[in-house]
Amino acid sequence: MIVAFIQRAIVQGIPLLFGSTGEIITEKSGNLNLGTAGVMYMGGISGVIGAFLYENSVETVNPVLAVLIPLLASVIGSSFMGLIYALLTVTLRANQNVTGLALTTFGVGFGNFFGGSLIKLLDTDVPSIALSATSKCFKAGFPFADKLGVVGDVFFSYSFLAYIAIAIALVTSFYFKKTKSGLHLRAVGENPATADAAGINVSAYKYGATIIGSIIAGLGGLYYVMDYADGVWSNDGFGDRGWLAIALVIFAVWRPNFGIIGSFLFGGLLIIHNYIPNLTLSAQELFKMAPYVVTIIVLVVISMRRKRENLPPASLGLSYFREER
């Protein structure tokens, strides 16, 4: 049962990991994108649309295309969201919070609308969006996992996107710490005026970080639909995971490698109510509070301790106007 719990916790955690890694990259550039929830819906539904069109246009599904087409569609969808956000906040200098909330409204609406109306819009005769063939391709994992017993179950039983999520988080961590461009990105988030004076192209970094961050976050939506939900889109099924991903950014104190552990922990907290015996239905609802309460505690503790390396990027949430110094 413990093995099953760990497995489920990690599967629950992977979308959050994608979301939080994406959001960390975005926030490191000084952009607080509250639209992550919307971006993740967009990444999910774009992948679904791509897969749906492909599955319904061919007789037999080619596994490579079945993965690549939704993946590409998801990347296009979520980078479009990132582009809107960057255009409004960087070029047009709009308020980041309001833009982010509008992006969430738009993205969640877009997801639910196309999720609910895709079949009618395309005049197909299938009863519901169930992309089992595509989902099967996405679920491909290590063939040897079964033979390794518990070790195989805990470490090797996931689909390839899960390992990609962990790899992205590690690479991002390395990028921030060890590369010049990562240093530039952090400079932009900490003090854009100084970065600008040092000859760093502030707008380019902000655009780049926001769009790449959105693409990564969008993959979380794709993973959720294709792997966790077996290719079945249900409206609002993704729930509030986008917001939880933003919480995870704080929990991980803006470090993607901490985010890996954090996401598994959050994943565990999300489902722990299923694993505590004799819990009444009402008490389950109380247990669902756990990830949020934990985030608040972390938030309060880091603000009280005020250790430099645990603080958010100094100019987070502020637009940068070169002329207004």
Partner: protein, 367 residues
């Protein structure tokens, strides 16, 4: 030398901040943005439904204000959204990013619902309603003051804090609904006892809500514009250091303002639970707490303008809702439309605050 000067690249245009812009011109820019947004939305609707845009807009108007009943529904929704928008306004003016209105309204509603379930039998209506009112106001204020306290003392980031408080409130309500659900385990509580419903004026269910919100709107306008508190809020919002320098107690202002903000959210919760739905569920607030932030911001934190911006949003929701029923599409269509229109309005503010100065030959020659 002359050659070098020629080569220096002058950009096609540069951006300059406007000192001030005539109000009329500012509103013209906003109106133009809304018109462009409506054209984009019209094209989108046409693509999706194959109907011509004029019919689409006609059915939107029909859906929003087509019948007397619909007008009342619209006004009712407008009142609730406006009430929450007013609640977040003083906090936002102070640059306190309270995105927890959702939870503050819900917890206010929960307090009202609990009062009506447990006190209706023991208290007469005339006492019960003030008690409910106080309970909701207190609950909302407490929910808002917790993050404010940490913000004031340790500068804890309020955006994620208030966000998390939303979900804690949602889970609390969900818990409550499971504990008192009928039938057991359904997670739904029955209608509240009729004696605890807010009184109706005449035979219209909603007019009391509308009057209360109208009073709050006017009160908030006075408070922000003519009261010393309103002035302090603006100063803290503009620059915390200036505020400290001129002797404003910033901590006190933050906490006081958030108590006010939460209290009004609590009232909105009461109106929503005992004045409208007569029951409570974890989705009672339905994202209005977030929409309210956009409404307040679009109105530039002016309570009177907020009536207009709240109206635009509610109108669009109702109108787009009608389109989705007509064409058998998912009701989330309204969220897409709302999103697009807000993008355009947010974007157009740039052209109100800044102007593009194009490269002109005259200037180059005069150098």
């Amino acid at each position: 030398m002359a050659n070098i000067q020629k080569k220096t690249h002058e950009p096609l245009f540069h951006i300059a901040k406007r000192d001030s812009i005539p109000t009329l011109k500012a509103w013209l820019i906003r109106a133009a943005a809304i018109v462009i947004a409506l054209i984009v939305c019209g094209l989108l609707t046409m693509l999706l439904t194959g109907e011509n845009p004029i019919n689409v807009y006609a059915s939107m108007i029909e859906g929003a204000i087509g019948t007397e009943r619909r007008v009342w529904r619209l006004l009712q929704d407008l009142a609730i959204l406006l009430c929450i928008s007013l609640a977040v306004t003083p906090a936002f003016k102070m640059k306190f990013w309270n995105i927890g209105a959702e939870g503050q309204v819900l917890i206010g509603g929960l307090a009202a619902a609990a009062c009506s379930m447990f006190l209706t039998d023991s208290l007469p209506t005339a006492v019960l309603i003030p008690v409910m009112f106080i309970a909701s106001v207190l609950a909302g204020a407490i929910w808002a003051v917790i993050p404010a306290f940490f913000k004031a003392h340790w500068n804890t980031n309020e955006t994620p804090f208030t966000l998390m408080m939303n979900y804690i409130a949602i889970q609390l309500v969900s818990y409550y609904c499971f504990v008192y659900s009928v039938p057991k385990g359904s997670g739904k509580i029955p209608l509240l006892p009729k004696a605890s419903w807010l009184p109706t004026i005449g035979n219209n269910d909603y007019i009391l809500n509308i009057i209360i919100v109208a009073v709050i709107t006017f009160g908030m306008y006075i408070y922000l514009k003519y009261n010393k508190h309103g002035y302090e809020i603006s100063v803290v919002g503009e620059s915390e250091n200036t505020a400290k320098y001129i002797g404003i107690n910033v901590k006190k202002v933050i906490i006081r303002t958030l108590i006010l903000s939460g209290a009004i959210c609590g009232i909105a919760g009461l109106l929503l639970v005992n004045g409208t739905n007569h029951t409570i569920a974890s989705n009672t607030v339905d994202g209005r707490g977030f929409t309210a932030i956009m409404v307040s911001w679009l109105a530039k934190f002016n309570p009177i303008t907020m009536i207009l911006t709240a109206f635009i949003i509610v109108f669009l929701e109702k109108g787009a809702g009608e389109i989705s029923t007509m064409f058998g599409l998912n009701s989330s269509f309204s969220e897409i439309i709302t999103g697009i229109i807000i993008f355009f309005i947010i974007g157009c503010e740039f052209f109100i605050n800044y102007k593009l100065v194009f490269r002109s030959k005259k200037e180059a020659n005069s150098k």
